[in-house]
Amino acid sequence: MADKEKNNYVSKDKLGKNFTHKKQIVKNNEVKDNKEMKEKNTSSKDIILSIKNASYRYSDAEENDYALRNVSFDFESGKIYAIRGRSGTGKTTLLSLISGLERCTEGEIIFDGKSLKDRNLDKYRNSDIGIVFQSYNLLPFMTASENIILSMDANGLKLKNKKEKAIELMEKVGLKETYADRKVLRLSGGEQQRVAIARSLSYNPKMIIADEPTGNLDKQTETEILEIFEKLAHEEKKCVIIVTHSQNVCDAVDVIYDLKKVAK
């Protein structure tokens, strides 16, 4: 890639207006080549999640038919990342590994200094990370606030007025209080995605993972939602990882990781 600037990788100018121009783009196979240099950097960085040589093969796939092969990425707190790649390169698969919905076939993923292998993945999902899907994945028979409260319950959050907190979160992602008691099926796609983001924030996780969160939305809405993610990363120092096809999204993030199709 022409605009690949390895030296800017260590840029501390995270909050600068021009961070998008100093963006770093890394391909999964190249990271391996620069392993030494990377490790030198990691020691000084605030790395929250580290994928180490992860490979994944679906249980019903053939012997050598890996959906992911030797992927190594690091993610830092306070940064927003895009994972980019053609269809079928394993982006969703990678996200399911990061979110602990599947376990690596080989290699490992370390979150906050502890391997996912050693973590209770349910606990990990309901307190350490928030997940946002392209198809929102809200429970349609519940209201917006009930969906958010359900997530607080799963976390075990002890809170007197959960509904108040849910409304507060909804306002944070740009939803009026009046939406709180509406069944989610009666919200627009963009509104549903905001509810889903609010849900993922309900227990204040350190990391937000989103799989094509704006895939079904128009450009204007996409921009608004991206602003929410940017705020979360840069102001609340969360690590935000977005899987995307959208150039608009890639323009907005700090680091882009490219996934290439696994050679068969």
């Binding site: 599947e102 198809s135 319950d153």
Partner: protein
């Protein structure tokens, strides 16, 4: 607990399905309550029927054993048989006492018979008639038949089997008869003998043995024999016309005062279990019982009355099992459909970090809440209807048991069924008072009691859990990611 909250929300959301599940469980619960009530009643009836009979063992002569050694068609063989027959050692009262001293025997009673002649009374007979009186025991008929009367002493009320089984029934009885019947020289005599000699209650009769010793007895009751085709066809008198019924100690005092008198003893042993009869028989042989005698039990008679109840009981069991199988299959299918339809929900709940265990708990709680409500309702409806259903099914058994008790009371001289008898109650206590007590069924109503309810709850909940196992397993195996992908 948010699991329960979620379960409750889901129940309300899936009203239709949950009402369907509820109705199925309600029907099962209702059917189960009724069948369990019937089964319980049947088991109670069987128990009380079995308790109504003691486990009795008697000694009887083994004719087949005797016959197999000889060919009766040859006169020589017949001679041998007779000789052999006469040589069989009978058993005496002291043998019986030693037999009774066994760990298998709970109690025993006996009839003790002795042949005597009349002193102030005459034998009821027709001159030409050569009848032998009612014989006792085996091999000793000759001795007794040479006397006019058979004095039969019973050791206790239980021994008076002729009165219990209705062969004899009391016609007249003095007021205090049962208080004194087992202690002293009192007799019950046959109506025919009373008519023949013009005897009444409280009259005294005198008997004598061959050496001329006399024994005086007071009449405290007059009975009659109910002929059921067993009497000698040529006789105008029943077999027991010359039988005098008294107590065993009266006979014992006669036999001790005159040791030459031939007495016959017929013991009945009450044992703890029919399983021990073989061991008991060996023990008797060791104690000197001739091996031509064998032990016989009343097991067949005791069990004959329960077969119809047992049929009802096993029908109820079959019905119960079929109901449970069909109900289980229907619930299983509904559960599987339920889980399939709710895959997406499961996927979402799993991705937001609700563990498999909690999710399973939620689904089980939903089922348990619905089924407990339905079980309680079903048990209520079943309880209301079970009384009628099972009482009418078992009506004849319950009635016949009550009738039987009344009948026995009458045999012993009660004027109106139970009036002459003590109430059915503590048998030993009654026995202690010397009152005739024969226990039959208690009056039993088929009722849904705590036992039935607990059984039902156990059956119901295990049915629910078993039928939901498959769906629980599928929750464990769902991969949330796949489910969510399917959706999008």
């Amino acid at each position: 607990m948010f699991i329960l909250k979620n379960a409750w929300i889901s129940i309300k959301r899936n009203k239709g399905r949950n009402i369907l599940i509820g109705i199925i469980i309600l029907i099962i619960a209702c059917a189960c309550t009724i069948t369990l009530a019937i089964k319980n009643t049947a088991v109670d009836l069987i128990d009380s029927y079995k308790n109504a009979y003691d486990k009795e063992v008697t000694i009887s002569f083994d004719r087949s054993n005797m016959m197999k050694d000889f060919d009766p068609s040859q006169s020589e063989g017949r001679e041998n048989a007779r000789e052999k027959f006469d040589n069989i050692a009978s058993y005496t009262i002291s043998d019986v006492l030693s037999f009774a001293d066994s760990e298998y025997i709970e109690s025993y009673y006996y009839t003790y018979g002795v042949g005597l002649n009349g002193n102030n009374i005459e034998k009821a007979e027709i001159e030409s008639n050569n009848n032998m009186p009612n014989g006792f025991g085996h091999g000793k008929e000759n001795n007794i038949s040479s006397t006019d009367f058979t004095l039969t002493g019973y050791s206790s009320l239980d021994a008076m089997s002729e009165f219990i089984n209705g062969t004899y029934t009391m016609n007249e009885i003095t007021e205090n008869a049962w208080d004194i019947a087992f202690d002293g020289n009192y007799v019950f005599i046959n109506q025919e003998l009373a008519d023949y000699n013009n005897l009444n209650l409280n009259d005294k009769i005198v008997l004598e043995d061959e050496e001329g010793n006399t024994y005086e007895f007071e009449i405290i009751g007059i009975f009659k024999e109910n002929e059921e085709g067993n009497g000698e066809p040529m006789s105008m008198f029943s077999n027991s016309a010359n039988t005098l019924v008294t107590n065993a100690s009266a006979v014992t005092s006669i036999t001790t005062s005159n040791e030459d008198l031939q007495a016959t003893i017929n013991p009945t042993f009450i044992i703890d279990s029919y399983d021990n009869v073989e061991k008991l028989q060996d023990e008797f042989y060791e104690k000197g019982l001739d091996e031509n005698f064998v032990l016989q039990t009343n097991e067949e008679i005791a069990l004959s009355g329960v077969s119809s109840i047992e049929n009802i009981n096993s029908f109820a069991t079959t019905f119960l099992v079929i109901t449970l199988i069909i109900g289980g299959i229907v619930l299983f299918v509904i559960n599987m459909i339920n889980i399939r339809e709710r895959k997406y929900e499961i996927g979402v709940l799993r991705t937001i970090g609700i563990s498999k265990v909690k999710l399973t708990m939620q689904f089980v709680s939903e089922l348990v809440i619905v089924s407990v409500v339905a079980l309680v309702l079903g048990a209520g409806i079943g309880a209301v209807s079970s009384k009628g259903v099972s009482n009418s099914l078992l009506e004849s058994e319950i009635n016949s048991s009550n009738e039987r008790t009344e009948e026995i009371g009458k045999n012993f001289g009660g004027p109106n069924g139970n009036e002459g008898m003590p109430d059915r109650g503590n048998r030993d206590e009654m026995r202690g008072k010397g009152m005739p007590v024969v226990q039959a069924y208690d009056s039993i109503d088929a009722v849904v009691d705590m036992k039935v309810l607990l059984e039902l709850l156990g059956i119901g909940l295990s049915l629910v859990l078993v039928s939901s196992i498959a769906s629980m397993v599928s929750i464990q195996r769902f991969s949330p990611l796949t489910i969510l992908k399917e959706r999008s």
